[in-house]
Amino acid sequence: MLNFVIGRLLQAVIVLMLLTLLVFSLLRLVPGDPVLQILGPYADRETMEELREQLGFNQPVPEQYATWLGKVVRGDLGESIISRQSVTETLKWRIPVTAQIALGAWAVSMVIGLPAGIIAALNRNRWPDYLSSVFAVAGIAMPSFWLAIMLILIFSVHFHVVPTSGFVSPATDFWRSMRLSILPWFVAGIGGAALLMRQTRSALLEVLGQDYIRTAKAKGLAERVVIMRHAMKNAMIPVLTIVGLGVGNLLAGTLIVEFVFGIPGMGRLLIESLLSHDYPVIQGIVLVVGICVVMSTLLVDIAYGWLDPRIRFT
């Protein structure tokens, strides 16, 4: 087991390195002159040269990468071109905001997806199954930004149930924060809920078709006991991994939700920075998200390996 964990850890480290390489090359591949971007149109030649020297653009590329990586490891993600503030500082504000949306969305997908999947599996080919399946297919196919706009139109503009947009930290005003978060959570979580519902349904169905379930039923155990004790546990393994691996999609989902709902998280900052060519910020955010995904994948792999002995020895 220990060997397994160490092996996975090493792999994760390599992946992280490759990720940093990928992120680093994003800036270097940009057409145009980043220095002109930073200083604006009025700059004279000497100031430009000075800045170039300072930012290390005159060094050979591998050296630039090494310097940048060194800074990153120490937590220095550079300075925003627009605000001149440290990227790390800015992200400190933004990450909790995104986390709030992401966690809420995750909860939504669990709360809707799991029970829906279980009900669908238990009522196979009857109307609850069909209903859930329709919902699942629609949920996966619906563009989330469109759903967001539709929901704002209905719930905020027409019925005034929730405010139109904005963000308040729960520390400042808990209930207002909750009201503002309902729609974003729902929109960000619905895709995951749909996927989860399908996975749960098919995993549970697969398990229910197994011999040992039939044996348990033959033994005379009540249906409920059968499900609880035997089926669920085993069905949960693949489901759990899907949940863990869905972190990437979850973060991508919160990105667009932040944009439409005007939530000042990492996602919206990323889009704004892209439009204003604020490369250090783009790099910082992409790196943070990438690291999150790699970490969660690692955890899932380890958990999976621990739960299922067959996998450990691949």
């Binding site: 990928l22 992120v23 090359s25 469109w146 706009i149 139109l153 996975q199 990437g248 991508a252």
Partner: protein, 295 residues
């Protein structure tokens, strides 16, 4: 990505097998519905000039912001262009991106997966780590990240979405290859002395085909969604091209008063992606031996 089960048997005569798959498919209502939707969208795209009542780029400002009427079935947008016509032409944009991106990404991904799975050795772990690194940046995030270097516009978008789909195809293919290469007849071919390329093409490739086709179908749906989101943000297709994501974006400023600017394109995206998803699911079920006979 959803897991795709593999079915292996000794290759059977082609015609009998495809006929079987086809009947399996058509027996499933949902898959059939999906196929119909795809067919409608493809036909819309091909026959757009014949089907669309107006030129999608023809502006008529005095007639802008009109509600759906008999002359404009879905109303007019902020520049007086007919929304129905733009929806019809928009299918071209979505299909073009979806098919080209998945085609490109699929091709690259499959080759990577084949090489990785067949030759193993040191290439395998390296390629797989690269694939994992790419996977760390999901969908829209990767498109945005690549937009810094590639810029905006349809070409850049297609490349970005293609890059995003490479890891999925690579892993899938690699999985198939790993399983196939252990089969008896493949070993046999090796012992006889058949060349690697020949083995890959003749024996391994046919067995990879099924999951790849399923992944491709589902992938087109995902590609269309990601492309629409990118266009919505402003880093994808540029105006005045009729594109569903772009239509939602430009209609967004007026949506609270003129809902018909944003609702139809969203419905169009949803139905199209649903079509690909339903068909892909049906395909997967039809090709999965364990679900044979099950409804």
């Amino acid at each position: 990505m959803t897991t795709i089960e593999q079915s292996f048997d000794v290759p059977t005569p082609g015609r009998k097998r495809s006929a079987y798959i086809l009947t399996q498919l058509l027996r499933r209502r949902t898959a059939f519905v999906g196929l119909v939707i795809i067919a409608v969208v493809v036909l819309m795209a091909i026959l757009a000039p014949l089907v669309a009542p107006y030129d999608p780029l023809a502006q008529d400002i005095p007639a802008s912001h009109q509600m759906p009427t008999l002359s404009h079935l879905l109303g007019t947008d902020e520049l007086g262009r007919d929304i129905l016509s733009r929806i019809i032409y928009g299918s071209r944009s979505s299909l073009e991106i979806g098919v080209l991106a998945i085609g490109l990404g699929g091709a690259v991904g499959v080759v990577l997966g084949m090489v990785s799975g067949y030759f193993r050795g040191i290439i395998d772990p390296i390629l797989m780590r690269i694939v994992e690194a790419l996977l760390a940046l999901p969908g829209l995030l990767l498109v945005i990240a690549l937009a810094t270097s590639l810029g905006t516009g349809m070409k850049a978008l297609i490349i970005a979405v293609a890059v995003g789909s490479v890891p999925h195809f690579a892993r899938l293919t690699r999985g198939s290859v790993l399983l196939t290469r252990e089969l008896d007849y493949v070993q046999a071919a090796r012992t006889i002395g058949a060349g690697n390329v020949r083995i890959m093409l003749q024996h391994i490739w046919p067995n990879c085909l099924q999951p790849i086709i399923v992944q491709g179908t589902l992938g087109i749906g995902v590609a269309i969604l990601v492309a629409a989101a990118a266009s919505f943000i402003g880093v994808g297709v540029q105006p005045p091209t009729p594109d569903w994501g772009l239509m939602i974006a430009s209609g967004h400023q007026y949506v609270f008063n003129n809902w018909w600017l944003s609702v139809p394109p969203g419905v169009a995206i949803m139905l199209t992606v649903m079509g690909f998803n339903l068909f892909g699911d049906g395909l997967r079920d039809a090709l999965d031996p364990r679900l044979r006979g099950a409804s």
